[in-house]
């Protein structure tokens, strides 16, 4: 049984311009110990998917529905807010994009770590403090006992994100969701953080949902990838399959747009033309159709269904795309 099974997740936001379908029928499984990548550009719904799983979407204006969303045997959507609080931060934790803004500027690092240990593990002050020091050391913060009294602004970006990871892992969660956790950081710091997450989660067998717009980081870290566009998963594949046999027009476009540091130096990228999708009145067809370079006649007639390509690889695309040229 998968640790997390999401079926037909829909998250909408009421705005004065109409209902935004931020997540529009997303289904996927996450196995124990698996690292799942969620890839897409801004507005693709990947962050909202994560917030929906965490039950962190503000309702109203948001509205989250799903056929089911079971985590470790319980349906997350059936939990009361109080029950959801027991899960959040304990068996399911999250790391956000901007570590400066994700830490409370007027509370010390120690306070922000200790409060979650006290809340979920019912530790006393001293015990929580000792555990907090261990956690900071675990994420590679030197002189941890002295840093507990420090405030977030006294830390560098990379150090702050380490603190966020320490907070997230403090109660040994079974699922860690990292939402663009390295996007705001410099590449050398990003490499440190990716390395850290990889090591800590492997050691503990934590399942990870790694949300990123960067195909490179995903290729390095994940076992499996879901590619999202306009609130839907358009392609899902084991990591190697996705890069060897991209089977959706959008995935192909994304790979063509991404500049690479290895391989032959291409002078030209092949970008995706046009503008990001409209989430208010989506086409009844494939949402990527207006920007697609490989569309076929069928694309203009009906919405594509999920097409199984073997090896747990599927895509919602009519075009028959062969393996990618190396």
């Amino acid at each position: 049984m998968p640790l997390l099974a999401v079926r037909n997740l829909r998250t909408r936001f009421a705005t004065d311009r109409g209902t935004v379908r931020a997540v529009d029928g997303v289904s996927f499984d996450l196995a124990e110990g698996e690292v799942l990548g969620l890839v897409g550009e801004s507005g693709s719904g990947k962050s909202v998917t994560a917030l929906s799983i965490m039950r962190l979407v503000p309702e109203p204006p948001g509205r989250v529905t799903a056929d089911s969303m079971s985590f470790d045997g319980t349906d997350l959507l059936r939990l009361t807010e109080a029950q959801a609080r027991e899960v959040r931060g304990a068996s399911m934790a999250m790391v956000f994009q901007d570590p400066m803004r994700s830490l409370n500027p007027v509370l010390s690092i120690g306070r922000q770590l200790v409060e979650v240990l006290q809340r979920h593990q019912k530790l006393g002050r001293q015990a929580a403090r000792r555990r907090a020091i261990e956690l900071l050391e675990m994420v590679g913060i030197p002189l941890a006992d002295k840093r507990l009294a420090a405030y977030p602004h006294q830390f560098s970006g990379g150090m702050r994100q380490r603190v966020m990871i320490a907070i997230a892992l403090s109660c040994n969660p079974r699922l860690l969701i990292a939402d663009e956790a390295t996007t705001a950081l410099d590449v050398t710091i990003q490499a440190q953080i990716v390395d850290l997450v990889k090591r800590l989660t492997r050691e503990r067998g934590t399942s990870v949902i790694w949300i990123s717009h960067d195909l490179g980081v995903v290729a390095n870290l994940c076992d499996r990838v879901n590619v999202m566009y306009a609130g839907r998963i358009v392609e899902s594949a084991p990591i190697r399959d996705l890069f060897q046999r991209p089977s959706h027009g959008y995935t192909l476009g994304l790979l063509g747009s991404t500049p690479r540091i290895d391989g032959p130096a291409l002078r030209r990228l092949s970008p995706i033309d046009g503008l990001p999708p409209n989430l208010i009145d989506p086409l009844p067809l494939c949402p990527f159709l207006p920007r697609c370079r490989v569309s076929v006649a069928a694309c203009r007639e009906r919405a594509p269904d999920r097409r199984d390509l073997g090896h747990e690889h599927w895509a919602t695309c009519f075009a028959e795309l062969g393996p990618r040229a190396p």
């Binding site: 959040r88 934790a93 999250m94 956000f96 803004r101 994700s102 500027p105 809340r119 907070i167």
Partner: protein, 316 residues
């Protein structure tokens, strides 16, 4: 921080010097002779001259100013022309009264604005929020003396619950704690309502702003209890601008009481200045204005220091 405090404190006498020069110029550049007002028209030239000499009013203006400043520097604010008393002893009578009224008004403002602002932010776009917005809009629009009349009409005349006058009076002081406090209630509400509106609006908007911050989402993602999220994570941040603003407003309060003092016959600083202006009692105008300005300046410095204490990011 001590360095910053030192620098700010050094600036105080400088600003006060400019203030003193301004009050001096305003009093001297305008028509009206205090001696004539005091002694009346029929008085003899000799008596008037003697009085002018006593108050240095016969000297050239720059000399008058420097003589006054030199005395102020030693702590002597001079003697009132009109009343047979020194300005400092007048201050000792009047300042505590004004300060008490200001404190009462501020207490009222805090007691209303903190719960109202927090509640409105938490229940955004509900009737509680609209009620709060309506209250602040009215609070901004009603002049304090108009509100004072309305309150007197309701609470003192129609309901006869509260006295109209009595702040600083002997009987009130002698009659136990309720008779001491009761006369403060209506004036404090009338005086503090504008600040209430201001502070409520500020707290509401900063709470709304902070509740949408990423670190609040983090706090919720940690599974913290709603009370912890609101009080520890949100209110602590929202209180930083609030406390600063409240302190600055408190510094202002002594100077804005004049209409309220007039209505409720409060023997405070405002009514003293009012009388002094009418009678051209220059030493009183100058001395009292200086004290009010100094009080305001110190409140401002206090606000800055509080800001630094509350917000770990600020290091002067």
């Amino acid at each position: 921080m001590w360095h910053y405090l030192g620098r700010r404190l050094i600036q105080v006498p400088l600003v006060l010097l400019v203030v003193s020069l301004m009050t001096f110029l305003i009093t001297r550049a305008t028509p009206g002779d205090p001696v004539q007002i005091m002694l009346g028209m029929q008085t003899s030239q000799e008596a008037a001259d003697a009085m002018r000499a006593e108050f240095n009013l016969d000297r050239p203006l720059p000399e008058q100013y420097f003589l006054w400043v030199a005395k102020v520097a030693t702590g002597d604010l001079g003697r009132s022309i009109r009343l047979n008393d020194t300005v400092t002893s007048l201050l000792a009578e009047r300042f505590p009264v004004s300060l008490q009224l200001a404190l009462a008004a501020m207490l009222f403002a805090l007691a209303v604005s903190i719960p109202l602002g927090v509640l409105a932010a938490l229940r955004r776009n509900t009737w509680i929020d609209y009620l709060c917005t309506g209250y602040t809009v009215l609070g901004f629009a009603v002049p304090n003396f108009g509100l004072a009349l309305i309150l007197i009409y309701i609470f003192s005349i129609k309901l006869d619950w509260l006295p109209i006058t009595g702040i600083g009076s002997m009987e009130a002081a002698a009659g136990g704690w309720w008779s001491y406090i009761a006369p403060f209630i209506v004036p404090a509400i009338a005086l503090g309502t504008l600040q209430t509106a201001m502070l409520t609006r500020l707290l509401r908007s900063s709470m709304i702003d902070i509740l949408s911050q990423d670190y609040i989402r983090t706090a919720r993602a940690k599974g913290l209890l709603p009370a912890t999220v609101v009080i520890v994570h949100a209110l602590k941040n929202a209180m930083i601008p609030f406390v600063t603003m409240a302190t600055v407003q408190f510094g202002y309060m002594i100077g804005i009481q004049v209409t309220i003092e007039y209505i409720f016959a409060v023997p405070g600083m405002g009514s003293a200045i009012l009388n002094a202006v009418v009678t051209r009692d220059f030493p009183v105008i100058q001395g009292f204005t200086l004290v009010i300005a100094a009080f305001f300046l110190f409140a401002n410095i206090m606000a800055d220091l509080l800001y630094a204490v509350l917000d770990p990011r600020i290091r002067y």
